[in-house]
């Protein structure tokens, strides 16, 4: 399998600052996205801290697999999934400690959604209301559960999915990084198939663009960076009420060896805000 990916982040039409952050670490096939919250510029600080902490913890663990694990390790998970969950626990602690130590940062927090691909195994760690989607055989499936009050009410059968979309309470989160000294992290694993397409996105996309439109865009545009750009453009066209960040990851059939070796030479490295992309055989 060959993995091609790209990401785009945009401030949107109504906000003046971009509180989203993302990073693609191509050599690890690690994808991290965060949506910050908190007054002044603190949302940006929180999301950048979240993304950098997760990336660094996973990179460090590649060098030193015995690096300490943060949080309660969940049974039955692979090393990658456990490491990813550990990274999210560490990011929570860093943001919480920073907010405690700096009174002007009080209330600072962030969502975090991270995906790590190892061969055909996908590990996901998640807190908040950013999302991971999987497009497989034309069906778009949300892999993460939103940690929002309305989503929790849907899971408990109190609201229908349609009522939740109309609710005025959509921005009320029940879990986020930085709110408490400890956080519950959702960690899970899935098996990937060739031609699967993964998307990580902030709620600035999913509040504006419907799931059929997301699926249609991913099917129509095979270049991951251009697909991410088109999704961001759609969110802005529909109002762009919030910051929008989208990472698109495509699992393509492996090309023959000498050709893929040539491609590897053109590989781009990871970058932060703006757009980033990369290719690597997996």
């Amino acid at each position: 399998m060959q993995i091609v990916s790209g990401g785009v982040s945009d401030v949107g039409h109504l906000r003046t600052n971009n509180e989203d952050s993302f990073r693609i670490i191509v050599p690890l096939q690690l994808f991290v996205l965060s949506d910050g919250m908190g007054g002044e510029a603190h949302g940006e600080v929180a999301s950048a801290m979240a993304v950098e902490t997760v990336a660094k913890h996973c990179l460090d663990a590649q060098e030193n697999p015995d690096a300490p694990i943060f949080g309660e390790p969940q049974a039955g998970l692979s090393d990658h999934a456990r490491r990813l969950a550990s990274a999210v626990h560490l990011a929570n602690k860093k943001i919480f400690d920073s907010a405690e130590g700096n009174p002007e940062q009080r209330g600072m927090g962030a969502t975090l959604t991270a995906a790590w691909i190892d061969g055909a195994r996908l590990s996901i760690a998640h807190v908040g209301d950013s999302r991971a989607y999987l497009l497989r055989s034309g069906s778009l499936q949300q892999l993460t559960s939103d940690h929002s009050l309305v989503a929790e009410q849907v899971r408990r059968g109190i609201l229908t999915a349609a009522e939740a979309e109309e609710s005025q309470m959509q921005s009320v989160l029940i879990r986020a990084l930085g709110a408490h000294p400890e956080v519950e992290v959702d960690a899970e694993e899935h098996t990937l198939f060739v031609r699967d397409i993964l998307v990580l996105c902030s709620d600035g996309l999913t509040r504006m663009v419907t799931e059929p439109e997301i699926a249609g865009t991913l099917q129509a545009e095979t270049n991951p960076i251009r697909a991410a750009e088109k999704l961001v453009a759609l969110a802005n066209e529909y109002g762009g009420a919030d910051n929008v960040t989208v990472i698109v990851i495509r699992l393509e059939p492996g090309s023959i060896k000498w050709f893929s070796w040539l491609r590897r030479g053109a590989q781009k490295n990871a970058a932060s805000n703006g757009s980033a992309g990369g290719k690597l055989d997996g």
Binding site: G157, I158, M169, V172, A176, H190
Partner: protein, 241 residues
């Protein structure tokens, strides 16, 4: 002009001006001030001007209307009063009492809670408990856990039944499929079953699955007892207690 501000956790969720027409408050979306919480009756209360004074009247609501913490059937409102309905508070701004003709009153756009906020654990538990206690639609009977299960009725598969414990279930010949089809010419990925917040949905893979006799082309929610036919197998989807 007098106005009512619906508050949640010290943030304004919605504001409505009070004109000559009564302001309906309740859970039903056709109210002037809809309050999205199951502790609130569909048509819970209304606020209107009577003889130049602002009045709140409870409409025989189940959980009552409170003004400054006193349960009221009917009460005159003053500037700065708080009406409590369920977990929500409605702040009364009665400055400039003169009612305006309602037909000239421009509809005020409903501001959503724009800034993301995180609920305190205690508040969230209370809200969910209260909502669950009130919820007529609550699916969960106490003490019973329902396990979604696929039972193989006909066809060759690697097991006789499957508990759907993962969010993604693939039916196909692939070694990575959960429900593995056996035999020649079987599709690698015939169909998929995905868990969402509100239930389990079946969607096509390389084949179009048939649910209760009808071919499905997009994700369809599965109900207890549905029969799925795909890739030469028949499966029964049930919630096992």
């Amino acid at each position: 002009m007098a106005k009512l501000s619906l508050m949640f956790e010290d943030k304004i969720v919605k504001e409505v001006p009070v004109g000559s027409r009564p302001i309906g408050i309740g859970r039903s979306p056709d109210n002037d001030l809809p309050v999205d919480n199951l502790a609130v009756s569909n048509y819970h209360a209304r606020v209107y001007f009577e003889g130049g004074r602002l009045v709140v009247e409870d409409l025989d609501s189940l959980n009552g209307t409170f003004v400054n913490d006193l349960r009221v059937e009917r009460a005159t409102l003053h500037d700065g009063d708080s009406i409590h309905i369920g977990k929500h508070r409605i702040k009364v701004d009665a400055t400039g009492d003169a009612p305006v003709p309602w037909d000239t009153g421009r509809k005020v756009a409903a501001p959503r809670i724009n800034e993301t906020m995180v609920l305190d654990t205690k508040v969230r538990r209370e809200m969910l408990q209260q909502a669950a206690a009130m919820g007529e639609r609550t699916q969960f009977a106490a003490g019973r856990i329902k396990v979604p299960t696929l039972i193989v009725l006909n066809g060759r598969t690697d097991q006789k039944e499957y508990m759907l414990s993962n969010k993604l279930t693939v039916i196909g010949k692939s070694a990575m499929a959960t429900v593995r089809l056996k035999g020649w010419f079987k599709p690698q990925m015939a169909a998929q079953i995905n868990q969402r917040d509100d239930g389990f949905y079946i969607g096509p893979g390389d084949k179009v699955p048939v649910v209760n006799g009808a071919p499905i082309h997009g994700p369809v929610r599965l109900n207890d007892g549905d029969v799925i036919e795909v890739g030469g197998v028949r499966l029964n989807f049930i919630f096992r207690e």
